[in-house]
Point group: C2
Chain length 504, copies 2
Amino acid sequence: MGQGSENLAHIFHKVETQQCLAKDEYKASIKELRLNLLQLQAQARELSIPVVILIVGLDGSGRGDALNLMAEFLDPRHINTHNLWSPTDEELQRPLFWRYWRAMPATGEIGVFFNGWYRDPFYENALGSMGDEDFERKMRSISRFEKMLVDDGALVLKFWFHLTAKAQRERIRTYRKNPGSGFIVTREEIERVEHYSQLVLTAARGITVTNTTEAPWFLIDSYDRRFRDVQFLQNLAEGFRQAIEKKQNAPVHTTSTAPLSHWENTASILDAVDLERSVEGNGYAKQLKAQQKRLGTAAWKALEQGISSIIIFEGWDAAGKGGTIRRMVQAMDARLYKVISVAAPTDEEKKHHYLWRFWRHVPRAGFVTIYDRSWYGRVLVERVEELAQFHEWNRAYQEINDFEYQLVRHGIVVVKFWLHISHEEQLQRFRHRQETPWKQHKITEEDWRNRDKWDQYKRAVDDMVAKTSTTLAPWHIIPANSKRSARVEVIRTVSDALEVAIRK
Amino acid sequence: MGQGSENLAHIFHKVETQQCLAKDEYKASIKELRLNLLQLQAQARELSIPVVILIVGLDGSGRGDALNLMAEFLDPRHINTHNLWSPTDEELQRPLFWRYWRAMPATGEIGVFFNGWYRDPFYENALGSMGDEDFERKMRSISRFEKMLVDDGALVLKFWFHLTAKAQRERIRTYRKNPGSGFIVTREEIERVEHYSQLVLTAARGITVTNTTEAPWFLIDSYDRRFRDVQFLQNLAEGFRQAIEKKQNAPVHTTSTAPLSHWENTASILDAVDLERSVEGNGYAKQLKAQQKRLGTAAWKALEQGISSIIIFEGWDAAGKGGTIRRMVQAMDARLYKVISVAAPTDEEKKHHYLWRFWRHVPRAGFVTIYDRSWYGRVLVERVEELAQFHEWNRAYQEINDFEYQLVRHGIVVVKFWLHISHEEQLQRFRHRQETPWKQHKITEEDWRNRDKWDQYKRAVDDMVAKTSTTLAPWHIIPANSKRSARVEVIRTVSDALEVAIRK
């Protein structure tokens, strides 16, 4: 338990008043709230706000009943409740948050997460299986996750349904005596009552860390059923109202390149790349074969051991991404890999956070996913073409680092390539494409336009590498003026990474 | 084994020639095929043809190597190989074909299914765990499934890689001695060699039943590696070519209402509905409560027993679908149900068969999915508004019956409601909506347009009920001039259905 945390539980004092509400007063409030909520839901839907509601709290607090009341009041067609019981095997084979991402509401929809992403860490820390340091790290990472949703326009409201120890004991006793329809008090719940004070201290710490302006906590005094419901629905309505107001008054962001002007005279990391490297004649075929053989073997072994990998290809137009990917997959059994070519998002994808579509494709244990362009589009093309605003692409570095951290922590091998060619080499390749009949489709007006923005892209690449080359997922800048040398080096790098993971 | 099936295996004679191909000839053919295939893939992509390739055959036939060669030749960004190993628990909780539907390629993409949907029934029948009758039924249902894909514009090509018994034994022996990188001959495979003759007879029967013009089988003599690859790729190219030609020369279908003209003077099933039924004053509240209580209890029990249910609401505009659904979900814990309001398909959904979007949402074991409008839109609004062509909606009855059959066979409770009101009652409700400020948004120009087409809709409902009211999934036509009576009856019907399933 962290220092001074014994005193943290005082945050719950103001919801331990055991206040009650008379029936008449309840009925009047509820009637008004019902109408309000339905209207607020419709307004949020019109404004395309995705709403995330977390229902967390003590056993016996009746948070399930409160949830049912809310569900009854809102338009059921645009609300989806997720009770994430034990993870399925498809979920277990992916990073923890995959199950939350797949349940994330689209714009205009409401996603209710019963127990949210808090229950497990709360219990694990309270019962001692998760140390305090891990717990705090976990809470901070949850905070970043929630901030990311809010930054993207979501409304995140978190409710903690509280009871005093005495009230909880009584409540559980009553439930046991009068089991409602289907509602069962489990042995586990009864045992957990014994850990009331640990749990409440942990919750106090967790709530304190994660109670942010972006994703606030609402503490609900749950002693009296009527008082509980009214408080809950009032806070919910207030949360909706604030989000709607915020959205309506949102400042119009304009893209700004100012913060990066100091870069102009700075040397680029790309200038240091030795582009003269190449592989001589026969050496190429031999080296390529050798590396492909390594990769093919490693891919099968990775399957056996359940090690997934994600290989990302970014690089200049005509840098040879497609050809390199083809040489790479030649080495592997077709049942083991999947190539994802990142194009414009679909309309379902557009209704979610930009990382959602990449979470969708996180591979199951043992498989290889190859990205021909990737989530880095956010800080490359979307930045340069001003498709994302400054505050959007600027916060993406941290979001991407968090995402990759989760992948790597789950045991996924992440390898990132930037295929680098010189400005002159690109020109020659463009010309060659134009002159070769069956390559003409590979060169478009857009490629020439991108070429004109070479320096802006260069700056974006510098920022990207500087900000997202982490120990866990470093960038590999591959000199690619010689296609052959680039192919061999890429396949060697992937094999190295897989072999290291396999040996572990 | 069916009568005369002993002779069926002769279908394989022509691929037991053990023909070989010289290296030079192989190289020349392969080079040409490579170019052809890449072009054909691009053409199919331009024509938005989804391509389904099934790679099936005997162990040791090298079908995996052939698949890898194909994957190497085609554009890897638009091909996806599915080796459906043991089903995951998410798959086990849904009808068998859910796993194939979720892997189905979108238009312009290629989906390769290793072992397809044939391997399991072939082995089960050959090794005796699936009787001949079940096997034939299974094959016929597969044929209908494939026909459905093809009717929708897909190309379905099926390959059987064949070997003689002697050649298979030798091949497996060689593999065991020289295990390739990662390739392992399992004990299971060695044992299966003993069942060669049963398996080949079963395969012959299965292939004979499912070898249709729509989804043809290609038998590949796999004795010689080079001969095998060339045959395979040639047949593949030929399949592509024919599909492209067919698509380019496709007749322009025009919607025709002719086949149904004999209906004009026929009595409608809806005319026989007694619309005068109603529930008196206090009786309503009491009856509703009683039925809601039954439903709430049944929903928890269904969760315990892993029984899912799908409740479908269709009916006239203003028939009270929304209000009825709200009364229904009031009865259930919000964690147990999901309401899906069927709107226009998303662009991802448009790239698939119209049933794909419904397969996506098939609930996991124990949950309730409620559809506010459903797949019946195909034979109602899409028919009447001519959004689907005659041949499209006309074949949908059979497709829907097949779909629901799979749901029910998996143990899912399917309940279908048509909420029926009179033409006059609809007019009154429309007017009431127009006059009530907070109901005005519920009435649009489209509602009035639909109302003008009352008779056409009536005819469509008659056809729908006649053709899709099956023993397993009957239609319930609910008189709904009295909203109260309709609500009670709907909830009672659902409770009945759930209780019957729970008692089983």
